[in-house]
């Protein structure tokens, strides 16, 4: 749908002439790299000036901006083409709601970005925010988690409300350096960048109409730089830089599918469980049974012993009957035996 209705970038013509030439040369650089389109994702907390930045870049009022409330409720993509080149800028709702990361917003953005390729990400924050707090870190982390830490390699930190007078005794350049260092450090930390890696570039922006202009009508910062061509230049640098464009696909959004992981190993796992868990436990049970048999109480041992002998008893009883019959014949011998005892009897006469 986007490609069908891509509008001509009319806003470009309204920029001051010097800005126009600067932008044209940048677009030319992109064409040299065989890039026919550039997709820029704008992320950031609510009310930091994401939509205003988009409007400034396009030179048109593409996003509704209100000073007192958040107007952007869902992501908006604006596409402008100029001489066969398409610029896509995706404006997103603020990621913070009520002091927390707005998971719902992130989820909506994720769905919106499905199957899109991102060339650069603008992480927008205010320059006049004095410190990086926990919430900022949470937002940075949430972005990394939702789109993968790779997204931070495409990022450009955009600090809005750049036209400010720093607190007493601080040089403007010094203030900017400290503010941007704090943010980039947080990003480096939360996105898990290595120390050797380049930090995320920082660009200053002033969207307000009160922004000072130079003689050519270009908006300039307190330090005199013209910020719009500078911003686009940095975007182009990132887009043409070593970091690859990011295709937001299902896998990236839902994370690696843990359900699929290791599925093929299940039969092997089953075998492992059978031989190395089930069997050892079973052998322990058998050992228990054996132990119980060995340590059975004395009465059980005796019961077994005497049962065995009583079985023999039956056989012996038959034998007995035979010997009895035999003995009966030798009764006389026994009589003699009795006489022998008689001698002893006399001892007992005292009774």
């Amino acid at each position: 749908m986007a490609t069908a209705q891509v509008r001509e970038w009319t806003g470009l013509q309204q920029f001051p002439a010097q800005t126009q030439t600067a932008l044209h040369s940048l677009l030319g650089r992109l064409r040299q790299e065989n890039m026919e389109s550039l997709t820029v994702l704008v992320l950031g907390k609510g009310g930091v000036g994401k939509s205003s930045t988009v409007n400034s870049m396009v030179g048109e009022r593409v996003a509704v901006v209100s000073a007192f409330q958040s107007e952007t409720l869902r992501p908006i993509q604006c596409s402008r083409s100029r001489a066969g080149f398409t610029l896509n800028i995706i404006d997103t709702p603020g990621l913070v709601e009520g002091g927390c990361v707005n998971d719902q917003a992130l989820d909506i953005i994720r769905r919106f970005l499905l199957n899109k390729t991102i060339d650069a990400v603008l992480y927008v924050d205010r320059l006049d925010g004095y410190r990086v707090d926990n919430l900022d870190k949470q937002v940075i982390r949430a972005i990394a988690r939702n789109f993968g830490p790779q997204i931070w390699r495409l990022a450009l930190v955009v600090l809005t409300h750049a036209q400010l007078s720093p607190p007493d005794g601080v040089e403007y350049s010094d203030f900017v350096a400290r503010r941007s260092a704090a943010l980039t450090d947080a990003i480096r930390q939360e996105a898990g960048f290595k120390k050797a890696e380049d930090t995320v570039p920082v660009v200053l922006v002033e969207n307000s109409g009160r922004c000072n202009t130079n003689t050519g009508g270009e908006k300039i910062l307190p330090d005199g730089t013209v910020w719009l061509p500078n911003l686009v230049e940095r975007i182009v640098e990132i887009a043409t830089g070593p970091a690859k464009s990011l295709l937001i696909d299902k896998k990236l959004i839902e994370g690696p599918n843990a359900n699929q992981r290791g599925k093929l190993w299940i039969p092997l796992l089953l075998l492992f469980q059978y031989f190395f868990v089930l069997k050892p436990i079973q052998s322990r049970i058998n050992r228990d049974i054996e132990d119980e048999r060995q340590n059975r109480p004395q009465w059980e041992v005796r019961a077994e012993q005497f049962r065995r002998t009583s079985m023999l008893e039956e056989e012996r009883a038959d034998e007995q009957a035979i010997t009895d019959a035999f003995k009966q014949d030798n009764l006389d011998d026994l009589g003699e035996l009795g006489d022998q005892f008689e001698g002893l009897d006399d001892d007992d006469d005292e009774f």
Binding site: E97, G98, G99, C100, D103, Q104, D107, E254, G255, A258, N259, R261, G262, K263, W265, I266, L269, L270, Q273, V277, L278, I281, Q282, R284, I285, N286, D288, I289, D291, E292, P297, Q298, W299, E300, R302, A303, F306, R307, T309, S310, E313, A317, Q320, D324, K327, L331, L334, G335, G338, D339, F341, E342, L344, D345, D347, D348, D349, F351
Partner: protein, 813 residues
Amino acid sequence: MAGLTCTNTGLSTGSGLLSHCADVFICSDSGAHSSVQPGGRGRGMRSLRGSATGPKKQRASSQNNVLSSFPWRRVVSCVAGVASGFGSVSAIAILSGGNGGGWGGEGGGYRGGGDGNGGHWWRNIFDNGMAFADGRNDDSEQYDSHGLRVDLRVHITKLNPNKRYKISEVELVDKRTKQAVSSKDPFYELVTLRPGSIATKAQLESEVENLLNCGMFQTVEMEGVTQADGSMKMQISFVESQWQPADSFRCVNVGLLSQSRLPDNEATMNDQQREEMAKIQEEEYKTRLRRARPCMLPKTVEREISGWLRTETRVTARMLQKIRDRVQRWYHEEGYACAQVVNFGNLNTNEVVCEVVEGDITKLQIQFLDKMGTPCEGVTKLQIIGRELPDQLRPGQVFNIEAGKKALRNVNGLALFSNIEVNPRPDEETDGGIVVEVKLKELEQKTAEVSTEWSVVPGSSGRPTLASIRPGGSVTFEHRNLYGLNRSILGCVTSSNLFNPQDDLGFKAEYVHPYVDGVDDPRNRTFKASCFNSRKLSAVFTGGTGQEEVPAIWVDRAGMKVNLTENFTRQSKLTYGLVVEEVTTRDETSAICTNGARTLPSGALSLEGPPTTHSDTGIDRVAFLQGNLTHDNTHFVNGTPVGSRNIFQWDQGLGIGSRFPFFNRHQISLTQFVQLQPEDTKDQLKPPPVLVLHGRYGGCVGDLATYDAFTLGGPYSVRGYNIGELAACRRFLELATELRIPINKTHAYGFLEYGTDLGSSKDVRGNPTEFFRRAGAGASYGVGVKLGSIRAEWAQDCNAGSGSLFVRFGERF
């Protein structure tokens, strides 16, 4: 009445009765024996009375005569029995036809009397204790003064038959030493007269008679010494029976040997016949000894007794009594409650032969009783009971109380009977035989039960109020013991609203078929088939520490299950089977839901939580194999378990069902109860200190539905946390240790527990651990006391750092 009884509540009552068994059983035993030989008993009395009063000389000479004609007759039959009377007499030893008895004097009195039933050295048991108890149960304490001069010795024959004498003291005087024996002498046990009792002349005479009958004494005379207060001091002078010294001892088992009988016309026999008779008897005795089976008495005891014999210069009645007590004590300590020393043979030779009836079982009877206790036809097939009875209770074995206990335990395990008794009873047909009676009262086959529950919650004013007026509850129907083969059908319907049960109807129907391999096969496998419909609150969808309420997800499972259970030991078993079920996840309004929900800080409900089911539709259908192997060798030491228990559980998906779930879900739990001190044998109720070590691991490979994720936290996982408070994960590890220290009759314990999801929470779809802001891991420690079946414990939650008090039922491990 006697023996081992078990009411279906448990063994404790049964074992209480067991201790009485020996006494009561023997009581009935002796009764039976005395009734077998009533004639002999009567005659014995007559002849022995003669000996007490008859001239001594005549007796001696005639004895001589007898002895010369019965050269081996030094063998004296000694009968020992134990009878319990009315509490006054606990044990009476009886020697019948004692050597000193005046058999000859009374003209063959010996044979006519003590040997009246043949030349057997068998027992005659006289329940004299009972007779006296009756006599002494007189109503009043009144007595008549003797009316004589003080300090006069009066022979009891000279007493006034109409007077009731008060006995102030009883004294036994050995005639040989002319000394009164010490009051601790075992002979005092034989005397039933007690100081302070009142007796008539007739009673005193029969006392003397009984003392003579018991065979311990050659002569017994009783004299009264008149006292100043009108009472009498009874002096019993006796001559103890004695035989020539012996230096060895042997014990033989004469159980089940038939008694030889002699012709009754001994009185008419001349000397020659008598001599022949003697030879026959001697021969018979030898045969008898030869046929006697070896006896269980260990050689050590025999040697111990031989040692006693060697130190004595004579074998005395007292010695025999001591031997008898020792032998019987050994038997009774070993649980042979029916064993008895019945006779001492071979006296006056080098070897004393102790004849023992060990209590051989001749018959095993299984009897069913109806509610009134009268015998009836039982439904249960006899093989079912037979396979539970230990081999040691079968005919041919010696009755042991432990075997009885085991039988009781096993039969009770069938859960078919409301009352079980195992009684040993003397066999009327075989002497010395025991019939083991198993008496069973069957439970009703069909039972139905309705139970209701009303929920009570604190009302607005703090008073308890009914949560709703709808009663919840269950209706259960059970048909037990189908065909008498212990098969059963169970049906159960539960609902939280019995008036309108279609809202949430849980049901379970189960068929249990034990002895799959046949009743006679020792392999014990039970088949079970059930269909079920249950509703449970899922612990996967709960919030973490400090998290506000998470909308509940109910998991309905409806399906069927078939499995086989094989019992290896009493506690170790293997179960395997197939489960086919439909799992539906519902929210609080009972509507099917597909995702978990969470209240956002703004108050809105985030419905995009983790998917509840594998198929994303809220309904999963799945078939899988299920198995469980339990290895349990815990045993109780003074009431606390010691040993180890290992359980391995696995579910193997078959790829059948919604989105073809194929998975392997496994869990292994190892628990070790280590006894730290040896058992306290003195105090049976004091459990030893025990260290419990516990580890559990679970994991799942393949498709894992969220409701099947493992949860961490809860009273059976990591104490101090709510159920599922720590994590819902794919793999987990749980470690716990508990130290139990006895306090009085119970124990106190301290524990330390830890559970971790091993970083696997992210591998569950939707990551419920993170979605509900759970920690993923946590430890806790605490202390507690066990009070009966209740555990009161205080647990410190290390994540939040707060402690809380819990009261729980049952055991953690």
